[in-house]
């Protein structure tokens, strides 16, 4: 019956989160006594496809159609549905990201399959198929049981450590009966941010709030982020005041992130902000207000002025890197 997983790639290269999704599917497969079939769509080289074996894929189905190089929810879903039917699969896994959120629900609609979006645990199959997911924008978790025969799960990226093993995998071509209407969306323009770490995938994040006083002070955070190799984020008032671009806004009405390290500078820690970041593994709060509620949610706190503390931290990181290189 096998388990289907969508293997997302960026211009023909698989990202860490793709291996995380394949590994997640492999763990479910082991539980259910079956194997993982990864589905890749668009232009990817065979030797790249074979690397999915390192995360536990037993087989790769490749829809080698260049029309799928750009995200197309309708066509991607059709590829997954075709693969699911070919393999007789009962579980389909994708990532809870821009691609997975567009594609997985469409697979759910097509196959009458119950959907858990944003899983943060493996399914508990002792009593049904129960998966933990975040709800109320990170303020709580829900345990959701999928009752349908076919099940769709999207995994929250950066939930599990990726441990790549050995192994390559057989690649087969998959033919999908596409129709003209599957390509009704024309891509006019693509603007990719190059160089910077995308916030949703960043393991380390440096974030600033109103306590930074103004956009002209952001250089201290940029310096720290550069030294750490971290992405930049901000709180809502900062984005609303146009000190920083909206895509950097994290919190209940912005992005939800789960980095390994979140350094919050000059952010008081309103409940709406915490909701977007409390999945972070370690939180450092730098604030000059001892009453800032964020300290209660932090692992490490520094009471002090951002403009003095942050450059010192940047220096300390630099020293640390030199000592450990």
């Amino acid at each position: 019956m096998s388990i289907i997983v969508l293997a997302e790639h960026t211009q023909g290269v698989f990202k860490k989160k793709t291996f995380e999704a394949v590994q997640y599917a492999a763990a479910i497969a082991e539980k259910l006594g079956t194997t993982v079939t990864a589905v890749a769509v668009g232009s990817v080289a065979d030797n790249e496809l074979q690397t999915l074996g390192q995360a536990g894929a037993a087989k790769v189905l490749h829809v080698a159609d260049a029309r799928l190089d750009n995200l197309n929810a309708r066509a991607y879903a059709k590829a997954l549905v075709t693969a699911t039917q070919k393999e007789g699969a009962k579980v389909i896994v994708a990532l809870h990201d821009v691609t997975g959120k567009a594609v997985a629900p469409r697979v759910s609609a097509a196959l009458k399959a119950g959907l858990v979006a944003g899983a943060v645990s493996y399914p508990d199959t002792a009593n049904g198929f129960v998966i933990k997911k975040t709800v109320f924008s990170g303020k709580a978790f829900a345990y959701v049981n999928i009752t349908s025969d076919v099940k769709v799960v999207t995994l929250m990226p950066n939930t599990f450590q990726v441990k790549k093993g050995e192994g390559t995998v057989a690649v087969e071509k998959l033919d999908v009966a596409f129709e003209d209407k599957d390509f009704g969306i024309q891509v006019k323009e693509v603007n990719k941010v190059t160089g910077a770490v995308p916030l949703s995938e960043a393991e380390l994040v440096v974030s600033g709030g109103r306590g930074m006083k103004g956009p002209e002070n952001w250089y201290v955070l940029e310096d720290l982020a550069k030294e750490l190799g971290a992405a930049l984020a901000c709180s809502r008032p900062v984005a609303d005041a146009h000190w920083r671009p909206h895509h950097e806004h994290v919190g209940q009405t912005g992005g939800t992130i789960r980095p390994n390290l979140y350094i919050a500078v000059g952010i008081s820690g309103a409940i709406q902000h915490l909701a977007g970041v409390n999945g972070s593994k370690t939180i450092v709060v730098i604030n000059k207000d001892p009453e800032a509620p964020f300290f209660k949610a932090a692992d490490y706190g520094v009471l002090g002025d951002a403009m003095e503390v942050v450059p010192r931290l940047t220096e300390a990181v630099k020293k640390f890197k030199e000592a450990h290189s």
């Binding site: 995200l71 929810a73 609609a109 979006a117 806004h249 009471l303 990181v317 020293k319």
Partner: protein, 247 residues
Amino acid sequence: MKILVCISQVPDTTTKIAFSDNNTHFSTQGVTFIINPYDEWYALVRALELKESGAATDVHLVTVGKADAEPVIRKALALGGDEAIRIDVDSSDPYLVAAQIAEYAKTGNYDLVLCGKESIDYNNGSVGALLAGFLDMNFIGFATSLQIENGTATVKREIEGGEETDACSLPLVVSCQKGMAEARIPNMRGIMAARTKPLKVVAPADIQALTNIVSYELPPAKTGVKMISPENMDELVELLHTEAKVI
């Protein structure tokens, strides 16, 4: 052009979340409900702008919920919109919610269906894409801008690590996020007008939920913050390396 806007009611963003009945139910005691911000600020306001500019003829609002969802849908009508539909069933299952809206939408010949990128209660972010599947329409998610000209939509949307501009002929389902429109506050005229706008209650179609919530859990409380002297950032870096193991 007819637009259908999907509206969800959610707990106010400042709500402290609590559960009852052995953590099996969300405790609504003392909770203020609001229109899901993504539905209100972006999807609804953009639909109203399209009507004001003459691009759209009708803006209908739809919600899935029991009678307790009516104050929120009235509030949405106070911002604008010609009529509202409430599908009389309560569920946290995205498949069921979207399938119910799709059954209704099929009767209305809508050219454009707008929703928020996700609701801030269950965070599935899946109703728009599910709807597009049920209605066999194209779907563009995470849109930050939407223009309509001669039956063709031009949409800017977030993609992995950037932004893309797409063109697509109608009908189309779009999920909206920040950038799409500026939030509005209902005025007294809107509030008065909303009282007399039609609010149809529709019986749900015979559709089964495919998921159910077994229980809830609050995140574990942090064990307490370790304060570091602002003079000693070397210590913080060392702790992040040896204790937290994140650098």
